[in-house]
Amino acid sequence: MAGLLLPGVLAAAPLGAQQVRVTGASTMRYIELRPLARDSVAEDQVPGSGLLRQLPDGRTVRCVPGDPFCRYSRPGERVAAVPLLQDLEASAWGLGRGVRGFAHLRMRSALGGSAGIWPQEDDAVELLAAYAELERTRYRIRAGRQWQVSGLGFYNFDGMNAGGEPVARTWVEVYAGRSLVRGMNESRAGGALEAIEEFAPAAHGIIAGAHARYRPATGVALSASYQADFRSDGAGLFAELAALHASWQGGAASVEVAVETDVATLGLNEARVSVHASPRGPVALHGELRRYRPYFELWTIWGAFSPVGFDEARFGATWAASGRRLLFRTDLAHRRYGDAGVANSLDEFRGSGWGVLVGGTWLPAPAWRVDGAYRVEAGFGAARRDGHAGVTRRLGTAGSLSLQALAFQRLYEFRLDEGTVRGVTAELALPLLPRATLFATGAAYRHPAGRSGGVDWNQRRGSLRLQWMLGSEPSLPAWNGGGQ
């Protein structure tokens, strides 16, 4: 359906629409990687005994009894790729009162280099969205490839969405169609899953959901969402989810409550209470209590492994001084993981985790910005330290040049320490025309202490991105240069 709509929208837009806006982004990247490669060494050449042994050069190998070879991972050959990405987004309106067409097309290619090292490089054409919309004062109807954003997240599908305002301050919408793999824009029964998952489902998903919002007063909002994703072969569900959200914002304070559940398993995916307060003065505070449980779609077996999550308390403060030209922020978090119910585990993992972040921003002059942050995270099986500092010089009204230095210690995830990576990056935003901006980035990473069996992060990266927009009033600005 979406494939049929796209040419229609694009063709009809310049012909019949009173106004059309086309935005484009052309991106070229340069990427270096050293993918891990599997290797082996004859078992009789490996000293010691046991399942895990160490070679004289420090490499850790795995020697399975009965196997004449000990196996290990090592950084493979350095490969480079130059993936190209072309995004085109067209919005046409004026075809009739409240009628609009919208399409978002993405094309991929590569210039030389090693093929296949960048995700979805072989997906030459991807249609992210293509829908026709009728919007009137009290209702809106969309048909085509679109996405649904609610408390449940971001879901793509091919189908219909109808929403309306039956009574004041209330918005209700229902939607249905063929569901798509999130982040991949393809049906579950398509080849995208089969390429990476041996047990990929052969059935499509049929998604149906409803979302309602109610704003009883200024600053108060309530919403409820329900969504089910049925297998097209009638063999059950892919997912069934529901969410409730409430928020209150009154001047200097706000409170948010959110609950997301897996209806199929009657499990709680997430519950959260957040409080933000900005009393008079330079300090703003926020706090949050959160219960989190991983969620997996029902076509996988992961949910049957009884995943457990954690409860988290988070507290932070922001202090602004000198007319907000100096901003400090800090964030503290403590997590307590649930009981995994595994009595016979031979390793003792942490049952809790914590995180600390401190950072600041300084605006020494209107055109200058200096910022930096340092963060430490420790979990039940991983830890990381990460710091960065950078300076940004604004160039004109829309241009900027930014330099940043960073260092991070990789998460070890039940592996031996992989050392610290240091890097420098540069970003340039350069307006070429009133509605065209060129972005360029370059980065180099140094991984001096990388061990021979781990991932080698010595690499260089770069990108060029040209963003442009064609259209006329009352069309609205294109990208704002990104970032928050």
């Binding site: 991949m184 457990v308 995830e413 031996l416």
Partner: protein, 479 residues
């Protein structure tokens, strides 16, 4: 008003005309003639101003030759008096009419009645007539000359009918005290409305157009004529947009939409489209419809409120992670401000520069591990992540290698780690990696179900159960 008072007023205005440059048009303006010095020389005003009440401008002032009878440079110093300039005034006033009115009332016209400088009329102690003298006799709707609700146009001509006034003279018009009020700019439309003709006495359309980009839609503005002198005065002056009290409220960003929908015309008094589009970049149909009702920015027209004043930190510093709930609750309608491209850039993984931190690919693992990144809001972590990890050589394909080399007995200890961090496991491992052992139908038959496992959810998707509980999982056929 008695006839005597009428006469007095008429006389006063005559003297005003004689004494004040505004009326008599003395070169250089002001009372250049020292009446008091000549008190004994001229017994009556008419000696010099005989034509005042006859509406004879040529006889309203003495000729220079009359002065030179004495001021010949011998008997008295010569003077530079070259004669009266033509009268230029925006007053609706004629000495002749006043004189005739007083005469008809049987009251003599008295110059001192209006032009006497002291409280008591004294001959030749005269000066410019003040407006207070006028309203002492003439009916005036305000307590003082320029107070509300005075109708200026009753005594003063609109600018377009006084073409002789220079821009400089207009610039020196006195400023009414009520224009100095703090809220004058915010309230001038309502306060001026009852007497909008008054505005035209000092102002022209360009006065309003300096700030009002929607001037062409305002009847009161269009009722004013254009004036090149005012245009000259307004040129280069910045538009002024004070902040209404309601706009300063902390939650104004939440409430302004309702106000705009109720009366977008009011917004247009100060705001042009960039005021909206600075934030409302989403292109949502309802927002566009409202934006379209605001005037665009046009060359030479009022700019509207600077968008830089409007944009504000609606979101907190952690908006990247908070915005999902804001969107979910409906507290803020995302599409009102954000272009859909902003969503798809991140949520469709086109280019993460707008959402994820720089170098995020290299640094994302900890966000996954702590669940802080809420990856599942956008990604199917067990498929999206694995596609990339496989290409980087991290994901499984050969479980014989020593990847988890931090725990020597990993095979025996991985269960707890898996339950605690299953998302990370699934980002690399295929289901078949686990089914090798955790299958009731084959492998080692290790039960992966944890305490409290009910199988309820799985029973609603029996196909996934069959992966382990049937001897031959139907690969690629609906599993």
């Amino acid at each position: 008003m008695t006839r005597a008072r009428l006469l007095q007023a008429g006389t006063a205005l005559a003297v005003l005309a004689a004494g004040a440059g505004l009326v008599r048009g003395a070169p250089g303006g002001g009372d250049l003639f020292p009446h008091a010095v000549h008190e004994r020389l001229f017994p009556v005003c008419e000696s010099c101003h005989a034509g005042v009440f006859a509406d004879e401008p040529a006889a309203a002032f003495p000729q220079p030759a009359h002065c030179r009878h004495c001021h010949d440079g011998v008997r008295a110093d010569s003077v530079a008096w070259t004669g009266a300039a033509p009268r230029v005034s925006n007053l609706r006033f004629s000495h002749g009419q006043h004189g005739r009115a007083l005469a008809a009332a049987g009251e003599p016209a008295s110059c001192q009645a209006c032009h006497a400088r002291g409280g008591e009329p004294a001959r030749m102690d005269v000066g410019a007539a003040t407006a207070e003298r006028c309203i002492a006799c003439h009916e005036h709707s305000a307590t003082t000359h320029m107070a509300l609700p005075a109708d200026c146009s009753r005594c003063h001509l609109p600018l377009d009918r006084v073409a002789e006034l220079s821009a400089g003279r207009i610039a020196r018009f006195p400023r009414p005290p009520w224009h100095e009020a703090d809220d004058f700019i915010l309230t001038h439309a309502t306060t001026a409305a009852p007497a909008d003709a008054s505005c035209g006495v000092c102002h022209a359309r360009q006065t309003c157009e300096r700030c009002h980009a929607n001037a062409s839609a305002l009847a009161a503005v269009m009722a004013l004529p254009q004036d090149t002198r005012v245009a000259q005065l307004e040129r280069g002056r910045p538009a002024v947009y004070p902040l209404p009290a309601g706009h300063a409220a902390a939650d104004w960003h939440l409430a302004h939409g309702t106000a705009a929908r109720a009366a977008v015309g009011s917004c247009a008094n100060c705001h042009t489209r960039p005021s909206c589009t600075a934030c409302h970049a989403g292109g949502d149909g309802r927002a566009l419809a409202l934006v379209a009702q605001l005037p665009p920015v046009a060359p030479g027209a009022a700019p509207g409120v600077d968008p830089a004043r409007i944009t504000r930190g609606v979101h907190g510093a952690d908006v990247r992670l908070q915005h999902g709930r804001l969107a979910a609750s409906g507290q803020l309608d995302c599409a009102q401000c954000h272009a859909r491209a902003e969503c798809s850039e991140c949520h469709a993984a086109a280019d993460s520069r707008a959402f994820h931190l720089p170098n995020f690919v290299e640094r994302h693992a900890v966000d996954v591990f702590t669940g802080r990144g809420e990856c599942q809001a956008c990604h199917s972590t067990d498929t999206f992540c694995r596609a990339c990890h496989a290409q980087a050589g991290i994901a499984s394909g050969d479980m014989k290698a020593a990847f988890h080399d931090g725990q020597p007995m990993w095979v025996l200890s991985h269960g707890r780690a898996a339950r605690l961090g299953l998302e990370a496991c699934a980002s690399c491992h295929r289901q078949s990696d686990c089914v090798q052992c955790h299958s009731a139908a084959g492998g080692w038959g290790v039960n992966p179900h944890g305490p409290g496992f009910t199988g309820r959810g799985e029973s609603r998707s029996a196909a996934s159960c069959r992966l382990c509980h049937l001897a031959s999982p139907p690969r690629g056929s609906g599993s």
